[in-house]
């Protein structure tokens, strides 16, 4: 940013004479409405839209989002266990409209970073001063045979909504004594503790309704987020129900599926025919980020951490799961936090001011059994041009925390859900 500012300054300095000639009032009067276009109305996109309007109501904000409702991925595992309804994780956009945000239900198909224009499937064009891209994730083709038809047979349920409902229906329909196969993806991916919380939630449902059934996790990794706490919970609440198998023992996890036959095959050639198969493929940035050339060879979007502006295309910011934000995780809380940093930076930039120093937080709860919740938290600051963990802050729920503390963490998770969704989508 700083270098760009200086370069801009040199360009702009050339116009000093003109500025003197025209005079200040003319410039002020001529300043048109600033336009920000946000692609994607998930937690990141919605939060950014709202916080820009809060900070500067003179900025016109348009959110381009194909769906009329957003289903949060967080707490969607409770839909799978039946602990909550799909409608309890469903949010519309009237709250954003109350903040003066224009919400357009259309699909952004291209971004012209030079002309500063976004075009949509519906044939519309939107000009912007700054664009924020918050497209979430798309899937890589790391599992042979996992095509669109297979998505319907072996749901990923890694984008909440119809896929979540489909997986829930399969769990309800499966016979007692069947196996639920979960195939978590390799790093990095959206919601690192998610597959393991999912196993716990599904196991809770099976224990109550289909006690002869099992959950088999065939992982593409040898370790995972909150691993000790999850293993403790599996031992404590899900013994004999959940089995986790490391990548090293299966030749790297599930490598191919045959959706018609209902089979999934590991790298070492073991064929699994489960009653329900949940394939979570490897991930990359959402499609529009790839199409707009915002990704690098990793499939994710490199950004300047101070402003989350793309280091590939100036004037476009990428937030949420699609960005390279490490050590921040790809979580809903992080997307909300990145959105606020970016909103503040964008307001400064469209007003010709230097963005301030950022600050971020992540807090992430996993509900591992009824009345048993665990968490990880961290405060992040900006050091040497990058996001950094603040030393001494953050960390995990203690391994020897009491049942009362674990029960409290579940209630904190539910209250957190109310607050973060109000913060992102509320009016």
């Amino acid at each position: 940013m700083k270098q760009i500012k200086r370069r801009d300054f040199i360009k702009i300095a050339g116009a000093t004479a003109a500025a003197g000639a025209i005079g200040f009032p003319t410039i002020a009067a001529a300043a048109g409405k600033k336009q920000v276009v946000i692609i994607g109305g998930g937690t990141g996109g919605a939060t950014a839209a709202k916080y820009i309007r809060r900070a500067d109501p003179s900025v016109e904000v348009t959110v381009i989002e194909p769906n009329e409702y957003y289903h949060t991925c967080y707490l969607s595992n409770e839909v799978l266990s039946g602990a909550r309804s799909i409608d309890s994780i469903k949010f519309g956009y009237d709250g954003l409209r109350k903040h003066g945000v224009t919400v357009v239900h259309d699909m952004a198909t291209a971004i012209d970073a030079t002309a500063k224009k976004v075009t949509t499937k519906g044939g519309k064009t939107f000009s912007y001063d700054r664009c924020i891209v918050a497209p979430g994730i798309s899937f890589k083709d790391n599992i042979a045979g996992y095509d669109m038809a297979a998505h319907e047979k072996m749901p990923h349920a890694w984008k909440a909504g119809p896929q979540t409902v489909l997986l829930r229906k399969q769990l309800e329909a499966m016979p007692d004594g069947g196996t639920v196969l979960i195939a978590p993806p390799p790093n990095p991916f959206r919601c690192p503790p998610g597959p393991y919380e999912r196993a716990a939630q599904i196991s809770t449902y099976l224990q109550a309704n289909k006690p002869k059934s099992k959950v088999l996790i065939i992982d593409a990794k040898d370790k995972f987020s909150k691993m000790k706490l999850f293993k403790q919970a599996f031992e404590r609440h899900h013994k004999g129900t959940i089995e986790w198998v490391a990548a090293k023992d299966t030749g790297g996890g599930i490598k191919s599926v045959d959706a018609k036959a209902g089979t999934a095959t590991t790298g070492s050639g073991d064929v699994h025919k489960a009653a329900v198969t949940n394939i979570i493929p490897a991930q990359q940035a959402g499609k529009i980020a790839i199409d707009a050339g915002l990704t690098n060879e990793s499939g994710w979007c490199p950004v300047d951490h101070k402003t989350f502006e793309s280091t590939i295309h100036k004037g476009i910011h990428v937030i949420g799961d699609a960005a390279i934000q490490k050590p921040l995780p790809k979580s809903g809380y992080a997307a909300n936090s990145e959105a606020k940093v970016t909103a503040a930076a964008v307001v400064e930039l469209v007003n010709g001011r230097e963005p301030g120093t950022p600050s971020w937080v992540n807090t992430c709860y996993s509900i591992v059994a009824p009345n048993d919740g665990i968490s990880v938290a961290m405060v992040y600051n900006f050091v040497d041009g990058k996001v950094a963990k603040v030393k001494g802050s953050g960390g995990l729920t203690s391994m020897d925390s009491s049942p009362a503390e674990r029960a409290r963490e579940v209630q904190y998770a539910y209250s957190w859900f109310k607050n973060i969704t109000t913060d992102a989508f509320g009016g």
Binding site: A18, V361, S393, G394, Y412, T422
Partner: protein, 192 residues
């Protein structure tokens, strides 16, 4: 870039020349907005296990955050968060939240307990938590209209010696029965 905008940027760039490129502390709103994910927009919580922190006295905010950071006050998560900030950053957040409007909650409460709690309040709590706990005291949070589950957690912690009470309060709390404590908490939660 259109010429007009360039000129607007020029003016701000000139203003910027006087400043250095040293990294300043994050602004109060930058810091405070990171709390909203759990504590709700501007510190007004919609989730009953997590307290409203809008309108809290700055002095109390500073005290509590230091206690959390030093593990002098029990928490599941706030200690982990509080240790992420300097004293100066906490002071910025404290002033920010002190300036936010305290939100009145609507909760499902038991009218009989609220009435009983009102009488107990006059006898036991009113001297310090005056105005029915509605004030942003320098040594206590705002209790009026605070979420009942949060108040219950807090009292559990006081009674378990996980959180320290002033001597006078401790004496009173020890004398009260569980039903009386519950009535008191319902009373505070009911206040607008």
């Amino acid at each position: 870039m259109p010429a007009k905008k360039s000129l607007a940027m020029l003016l701000s760039s000139i203003l910027m020349l006087g400043s250095t490129q040293l990294m300043a502390a994050p602004s109060a709103s930058m810091l405070a907005d990171t709390c909203a994910g759990c504590h709700g927009p501007d510190g007004s919580s919609m989730g009953p296990a997590i307290p409203n922190i809008a309108g809290m006295s700055a002095e109390y905010f500073n005290t509590v955050m230091k206690e959390y950071a030093d593990d002098d006050r029990y928490s599941t998560i706030m200690g982990r968060i509080a240790r992420g900030y300097t004293k100066e950053e906490i002071a910025l957040m404290a002033d920010h939240f002190a300036g936010q409007k305290y939100m009145s909650t609507t909760q499902n409460l038991d009218a009989a307990k609220v009435a009983a709690g009102g009488e107990l309040y006059q006898k036991n709590c009113g001297k310090c938590h005056d105005e029915n706990g509605a004030l942003a005291d320098d040594d206590a949070g705002i209790l009026a209209s605070q979420w009942l589950p949060y108040l219950q957690y807090s009292m559990e912690d006081f009674q378990a010696d996980k959180r320290s009470m002033p001597k006078k309060m401790k004496k009173k709390v020890q004398k009260l029965s569980a039903a009386e404590i519950e009535a008191l908490l319902q009373f505070f939660a009911s206040q607008k």
